[in-house]
């Protein structure tokens, strides 16, 4: 499989456009002949990451690198950052606003889902500066 790099800008103002990067990624992976199981894992992780970048990170970007054996997705934002990463990783922990909750977000399950559906999840964050979330999914 050739090395493929994709870049997505994620608008921080519109909750309803989130999902575009994940559906595009899904299409690309299908074209590359990736298995449906891996596509499902990648697309769900991508969606959760996209939504977090919008509702918590105030917008940012996602970069995807697809190589023969793995997929690396990196979300970057310059939002408020995460105070306590291990707390953020807990199922049910959420600081989502009422506006986000009304739309069905805020269960505190996004990061746990990303962990469940990926082979590695690395978060680095600096308060007041931003957050980087990297997910690795093996393709083979």
């Amino acid at each position: 499989m050739p090395n493929v790099k994709l870049h997505y800008d994620i608008d921080g103002n519109d909750f309803t456009v989130a999902g575009q990067a994940s559906s595009n990624l899904k299409k690309v992976l299908k074209q590359l002949g990736v298995s449906t199981e891996v596509i499902r894992k990648a697309a769900i992780s991508m969606y959760e990451g996209e939504i977090n970048t919008v509702i918590h990170g105030k917008g940012g970007a996602a970069d995807v690198e697809i190589s023969t054996d793995k997929l690396i997705i990196t979300f970057t934002d310059h939002g408020p950052g995460i105070k306590d990463i291990s707390q953020a990783m807990q199922e049910g922990f959420s600081t989502a606003t009422d506006e986000a909750r009304e739309l069905g977000f805020g269960a505190g399950m996004g990061l746990p889902n990303m962990k469940k559906y990926s082979d590695a999840l690395n978060i680095s964050s600096v308060l007041g500066e931003g957050t980087t979330v990297e997910i690795i999914i093996h393709l083979t």
């Binding site: 909750f15 309803t16 989130a18 999902g19 994940s22 559906s23 899904k26 499902r40 697309a43 769900i44 969606y47 959760e48 739309l103 069905g104 977000f105 805020g106 269960a107 505190g108 399950m109 996004g110 746990p112 889902n113 469940k116």
Partner: protein, 108 residues
């Protein structure tokens, strides 16, 4: 049972009939999108009070057979538009998720 047959039997209002009429193999009830993404299984018919456009994304990601917006909630305009573009079947009903699920469990 096919989604269209189930909808007919339950008297659901069709918001968008997708091009593909999926087989309903299970049922999932939930309103928190991340939980639905974690627990709903392919082929489930998904009952929810959520009516905003994000339900389309969840439907595509999970591979559920159809969405039923319950309790008299109405699909947003952009929810319908995206469902048309992405071949997602959506129904609406005034019934509760519980009432519908009880009937669904006897039908599928």
């Amino acid at each position: 049972m096919l989604a269209s047959e189930l909808a007919k039997t339950l008297g659901l209002e069709t918001v968008n009939a997708g091009e593909t009429d999926n087989e309903v193999t299970g049922c999932y009830i939930g309103d928190m999108l991340s939980v639905v993404m974690s627990r709903a299984e392919e082929g489930d018919i998904w009952l929810t009070v959520q009516a905003n456009v994000n339900i389309d994304a969840v439907a595509v990601l999970t591979g559920i057979s159809a969405i039923v917006i319950v309790e008299g909630m109405k699909a947003d305009e952009d929810t319908v538009a995206k469902a048309k573009a992405q071949d997602i079947t959506i129904y609406q009903s005034d019934d509760t998720a519980y009432a519908l699920a009880c009937k669904i469990s006897e039908l599928i």
